[in-house]
Amino acid sequence: MSKLLILIPAFNEEGAIGGVVNEVRAVMPGIPVLVVDDCSVDATVHKARAAGAKVLSLPHHLGLGGAVQAGYRLAFELDYDYVIRVDGDGQHDPRDLPKMLEALEGKGEREKCEMVIGSRFVDGSGAHSGWLRAIGIVFFRAMLRPIIGRPVHDPTSGFVGVNRTALSLFSRSFPLEYPEIEALVVLQRKRFRFVEVPCRMRPRRTGRSTITPFRSLYYMVHVLLGVFVNVLKFEGRRK
């Protein structure tokens, strides 16, 4: 039987993490839930453990990519076949997890793939969470189209599932800051396949989004550079 792990990276999410873990466990009973705590200074670890999750505690703050990669490394070492990442702020709806897993397993008429993205926009029904994010998504969609060779509706989604092949790659090398878009480019360059599955997105349960105009600009420049470097790296290898 295939082994699935639900991975939840969290940083100072004491207000939401318990609820997220409980919801995941209710939807996917018997499936292990791993919270990767990125050195929170609040009660995230305690709340996650109390809700029944295992916790991988990082000794210092590594950022989202470093936390996710730590989880991928552990999952790879523990021989998991699939890992689905859910954000710790409660924005991702765990009720979408079963169809993410079905897509990863290639059940039904679906083509088997290495990565599944839970997308707010694939069926055109999703709502943007803010004008800055909306601009970013439109911009990155347009930028990724020629690189990936097909449309990606929700390139910034963190609701992502990977199979063991992608897990093997990401446990060795994973973008450390703002990983979602760069990871897509890395996958495409390795000729891995991905599919988008329509998913629901909810407002944050607690806390505030860290997106500001300056951070958005930094994010765009950083991701553009990361994508450019990844394209060059792989183009160089092909020669």
């Binding site: 916790v55 505690s57 990082l58 000794p59 590594l62 470093g66 730590a70 552990l74 070492e77 450390l176």
Partner: protein, 120 residues
């Protein structure tokens, strides 16, 4: 303008002294002091060797020797900073890998101990 060259000489000597002192006190590792010492020695040589500085200046299209020295200084320090950025990146990668490894080992140790505890 010779005063500027003298100032650069003093600055180079000061930099060499500070770097050597820091190495002696183990505040800077020897391998990281090399680029600073090399840059300071080049500046010292150029600030004292006027003929060489004039030649370099004319090769760059700068007739003013002190200005040429400032341009060379800027370029040298940019190179040193670039090298430091590479070192920091490499150290950061190593640090992230170590932090992840430590967390994973701790997790596996805890799981192992939980499994050994009677009643589990």
């Amino acid at each position: 303008m010779d005063r500027l060259l003298n100032v650069m000489t003093g600055f180079s000597v000061l930099l060499i002294g500070m770097v050597l002192l820091s190495v002696r006190r183990a505040h800077i590792r020897v391998e990281y002091s090399v680029s600073w010492l090399a840059a300071a020695l080049v500046l010292l040589a150029l600030s004292r060797w006027r003929a060489l500085l004039d030649r370099i200046g004319s090769a760059m299209g700068i007739n003013d020797a002190p200005l040429a020295l400032l341009v060379v200084t800027g370029a040298l320090f940019l190179l040193v900073l670039y090298r430091l950025s590479m070192m920091i990146s490499s150290l950061k990668d190593a640090n992230i890998a170590l932090a992840q490894r430590l967390a994973i080992l701790e997790f596996r140790l805890e799981s192992h101990e939980e499994a050994k505890t009677p009643g589990n």
